[in-house]
């Protein structure tokens, strides 16, 4: 896997490709997306003393879209989010909101809605005063405030809770109030900092749908930070995968999942199988000798020289097992099997101290530990990485 220094040079072309407004992104609702991006980062650096949290970060976010910053903790995603709000100072580059440079605009003059992981509701104020807070500081007349707060509470499905204190609400309800509070004054951008992490699993799923629905209804531009790939894949128009302060890949959920640009992305999103090998036959249908000894055929976007080292990236869902395994058939032994109802996940030992994971639909019975199993994949169903862990395209 490439280290951090290598990466600092990599993101440039990636970011530039994405900087074209709307490229690859679904049409934003409301049709106002054309032209100016809602938020634009130009070569942002953020450092705390000597520690560089973010380097050379460039990204342009179309109006009305839902963009997720995804990465492990400490990758700089929250730092970037906070820099938009003005809670963190950037040490280089520019941040533009609706075409206006905001680096020197103090926090309270940036028109931004923030939702925190810890909810951050004011414990000494009731729901009404919490939600009305942003409106009060925008000099909205009182009757208008009452109307808008009512509407916002309606939107998060907690109407009539105005008089309650945050401590009287459940975690999910508190987060919904926090969401209402962040959108009620119609901010230019909505920032969500791991808003689901403090909730339990059931509530998380429900809130996921709710947040997405509200974002669509209001047409607000949303930037979402998470380390949870499922959240990222299910909610986003586009995902920015980050690692160690730099961008690894930017794309739609499908692009990022199916064609990971780097070894890091392949591993972080969905724990892909990664098999090292050497090109033994060049050409359209290229052959690769795996480190485990088997030879497989893979489709390569461009011809590679014989002897090149490559890594074959295989999603567990792209593997077929048993009789269904037609092409690139490898035989192995089941190490473990987990029954998931519709499908089963097999951990298969294919020799050479290598095991691969397959997630296959169940036909017949679920195999048990120790049984022999065939596993195969389509030559088109994999992604190839070069020696530096970059996708070959």
């Amino acid at each position: 896997m490439p280290d951090r220094n290598d990466l600092s040079e990599v993101p440039r072309p990636v970011a530039a490709g994405v900087a074209r407004p709307g490229a690859g992104a679904p049409a934003p609702s409301g049709g106002i997306g054309a032209g100016q991006p809602a938020v634009e980062f130009r070569d942002i650096d953020i450092a705390y003393g000597k520690f560089v949290a973010v380097r050379d970060f460039s990204l342009s976010i179309a109006k009305g879209s839902f963009v997720t910053l995804l990465g492990p903790s400490g990758c700089g995603k929250t730092t970037i989010l906070r820099s938009i709000a003005g809670l963190v100072d950037i040490s280089g580059g520019q941040i533009m909101i609706d075409g206006r440079r905001v680096d020197d605009v103090p926090i309270y003059k940036r028109n931004i809605g923030l939702v925190f992981q810890s909810y951050a509701l004011f414990p000494h104020k009731n729901v009404f005063d919490n939600v009305a807070f942003g409106l009060k500081y925008r000099n909205v007349p009182k009757p208008e405030i009452v109307r808008k707060v009512g509407q916002a509470l309606e939107m998060v499905r907690l109407p009539g809770s105005e008089k309650k204190l945050p401590s009287q609400l459940s975690g999910g309800q508190q987060q919904r109030i926090a969401l209402a509070r962040a959108i009620v004054f119609e901010p230019q951008v909505l920032l969500l900092d791991e808003p689901l992490s403090a909730l339990d699993a059931n509530m998380r799923e429900e809130m996921r749908v709710e947040i997405k629905k509200i974002q669509k209804e209001t047409g607000i531009t949303a930037i979402f930070v998470t380390h949870d790939q499922e959240e990222a894949l299910s909610m986003s128009d586009r995902i920015v995968v980050m690692n160690a302060g730099a961008v690894e890949q930017i794309g739609t959920p499908q692009e990022v999942y199916e064609t990971p640009a780097t070894a890091f992305v392949a591993d972080f999103l969905g724990k892909a199988n990664m098999l090292a090998g050497t090109v033994s036959r060049s050409g359209q249908a290229m052959a690769v000798v795996l480190a485990t000894g088997q030879t497989v055929e893979v489709a390569c976007p461009r011809p590679l020289a014989q002897g090149s080292k490559v890594t074959v990236v295989l999603r567990p869902q792209k593997l077929s097992v048993g009789a269904a395994a037609s092409a690139n058939r490898l035989s192995g032994r089941v190490v473990s099997a987990s029954y998931l109802g519709g499908s089963a996940i097999y951990e298969i030992d294919i020799g050479g101290k290598t095991s691969i994971r397959a997630n296959a639909p169940i036909t017949g019975r679920v195999l048990r530990e120790g049984e022999t199993i065939d596993v195969g994949f389509d030559p088109e169903g994999c992604v190839l990485l070069d020696e530096d862990g970059q996708r070959i395209s």
Binding site: G86, L87, L114, F116, S118, A120, P123, G134, Y137, F185
Partner: protein, 292 residues
Amino acid sequence: MRRRWTLYDPRLAWLLVAPVLLLLIFFLVLPIAVMAAYTFFTFVTAGVETSALTTANWHEFLTDSYYAGFLLKTLRVGAITALLCGVLGYFPAYFIWATTFKHKWLLLLLLIVPFWISFTIRTFSWINILGEQGVINVALLKLGIISEPLPMLYNEGAVILGMLHFLLPYMILNVYVSLEGIDRTLISAARSMGCTSAQAFREVTLPLSLPGLAAGLLLCFVLAAGSYVTPQLLGSGRDALFGNLIYDTIMGELNWPMGATLSIVLFLVLGFFAAIYTRFMGMSQIVKGLGG
């Protein structure tokens, strides 16, 4: 049938608190009860009293405006001291909380350092600062700014100053602890919704630190109104507080029944304020402040 003892046996709990309970009963409840009984004894002459029950002491206290005046003055001085502590103590507490200085513990340690020197000696030190031969007067005289020493000692101001000196750490610690309990993302949230720093302080930090401030005020008020050493050393006869009155009645006039009556009065009045505070704030805040 006898039950076997277990580690979390409730009987064991009683055994563990027994020493403290006994201490409290013998050294707190009983003495106060004895004092309360004394208030109904008859004063004969200096040092002599009989156990013939009478309400004369209470009658004297309630009818002689001399006592009421003393009590009001004590409460006034206590309130002024507590308020000054609040105003002067909030800023250092806020500073210690807000600073990005790496060694915060050092600042907190500085608050504790005064306690390493005897309270009486600390009070005496003001005589060397404020007295006619004190640092300030001597310096000003030498510089020719004044021609005769300023009367800075033995007045109410000196008494309040002495008590401030003694009580400020209590206030600062109380406020600091309640500030430390504030979730800082609340301030970020307020700022992101359009508050300047000052407005965020007014909306979030100040109201959420009020319990600590209130605890500090109560503590300072009770300690100031019950003080005896500071007015004795830094005040003149006119600046004596209720504590000094009790001392005089018992040690000077040797009138134990009246002294007991006055003690119980002070006990009840200060207890009343503590009760009001507990009713609205709860005692936990003070405990937190003392432990912080």
